[in-house]
């Protein structure tokens, strides 16, 4: 082997070793890298017990109730649901049917008391007219099914 082939082999081997090490480390930290837990994960007991954590999902349609500055809503991942109560100002993008991430803890009655609520935006960007067209199409397909 020429010296330069040897050096190339060392570089490739080194990067591969670091890559494998990184993959193993990330795999080991898998649960700690999760920013939020879904209601299904909470229901199956994957969420940490006795300390604050974040839940994420969609705000269930028609579930938002406001009294003064306290908001109550239901976070759903379409399989399981968690009722949430939050005292404070909700972010602009917070709305029913949209993504949300809430930090707080869950009580023995299953009610999640949030200390912070963040809106999770999705990757769709479109003008208002396009959104109206999408809604219309959804509406049409729903009426067709019935």
């Amino acid at each position: 082997m020429k010296p330069r082939q040897k050096r190339l082999a060392i570089v490739v081997g080194g990067v591969a070793a670091i890559g494998i090490a990184a993959a193993l480390i990330l795999n080991a930290f898998q649960s700690n890298l999760v920013f939020f837990f879904t209601p299904t994960q909470v229901a199956s007991g994957e969420a940490p017990q006795g300390r604050a954590f974040r839940i994420g999902g969609l705000v269930k349609e028609g579930s938002l109730q406001r009294t003064d500055i306290t908001a109550r809503f239901v976070v759903t991942d379409t399989a399981k649901e968690i009722p949430v109560t939050y005292k404070g100002i909700l972010p602009d993008l917070f709305s029913e049917g949209k993504g949300v991430v809430a930090q707080g803890s869950i009580g023995p009655d299953g009610l999640f008391t949030a200390t912070e609520v963040l809106a999770k935006h999705d990757e769709n960007y479109m003008p208002p007219e396009a959104q109206a067209a999408v809604d219309k199409a959804h509406e049409a397909s729903r009426t067709l099914k019935q």
């Binding site: 050096r7 670091i18 890298l33 972010p91 990757e123």
Partner: protein
């Protein structure tokens, strides 16, 4: 067949870079003007975020660039270690400040967008944290190479940082797929149709092109300064017309 090794010598790359960089700078200006015009005046408002979404025209191209420049640095690091060429280390050093700039822009514009949209400037989710690590890798590269006096040794040390750090790039890219993050998934990717309106997409792609051209122009310009600095003892530098004063 082009003899690539000819241009691996600083003496022949210096005039080539001098000829090329003004063209890339001109292209960058043109693409930037067109991109910003589409971004601010042509692209429609977003159905949900209103005008605030327009920050993606800077944010997304800057993030792409910050990741891509690090990959290019890693490429030059491999070439430098394998072939022992002097120019590759200089290219690495010339690229790092531009990469750091784009990583910073990405984090900063992201924070400005995050406050009104998410409700927070910063969260420690996988995407944001890995991008912050990328920013620190750039700073670490710059700090390490400037701390070593011998430029050849500085290049070798820097090349190792570039190669070790490149593992972080796929982590940034796939973080939104592998883990639950507050950051949304990719709107534009190679594997599926983009989930955004066409004019918005055009604005973003033009801005990305502008940032590409800017990065090439800046790194060529900077590598010329680095070549002069490191080769100032060489005879060919003394014979340059810009040195005859």
């Amino acid at each position: 067949m082009i003899n690539w090794f000819k241009f691996a010598s600083p003496a022949s790359f210096y005039p080539l870079a001098g000829k090329l960089w003004p063209w890339f700078a001109a292209l960058a200006t043109a693409f930037c003007a067109a991109g910003l015009w589409i971004s601010f005046f042509v692209a429609p408002t977003d159905f949900q975020q209103g005008e605030g979404y327009r920050i993606i025209f800077i944010h997304v191209p800057a993030s792409w660039m910050s990741m891509f420049i690090y990959c290019v640095m890693a490429f030059w690091a491999v070439i430098g270690i394998t072939f022992n060429t002097r120019l590759s280390g200089m290219m690495c050093a010339a690229l790092a400040p531009t990469g750091a700039l784009f990583a910073f822009l990405s984090l900063w514009t992201g924070a400005l967008w995050g406050k009104p949209m998410w409700g927070t400037w910063w969260v420690w989710d996988a995407r944001l944290t890995s991008e912050l690590i990328l920013f620190f890798l750039y700073l670490g590269y710059i700090a390490l190479t400037s701390a070593i006096d011998d430029p050849r040794r500085a290049d070798k040390a820097g090349a190792i940082v570039a190669l070790v750090g490149v593992v972080n790039v796929p982590i940034i890219y796939f973080s939104v797929k592998w883990w639950n993050t507050l950051h949304q998934g990719a709107s534009v990717s190679l594997t599926k149709a983009p989930s955004m309106a066409t004019t918005m997409l055009w604005g973003m792609l033009l801005m990305a092109l502008a940032f590409w051209m800017y990065s090439i122009a800046m790194s060529l310009y900077r590598v010329r300064a680095i070549i002069l600095e490191r080769e100032h003892h060489a005879g060919w530098v003394a014979e340059l017309p810009e040195m005859q004063r």
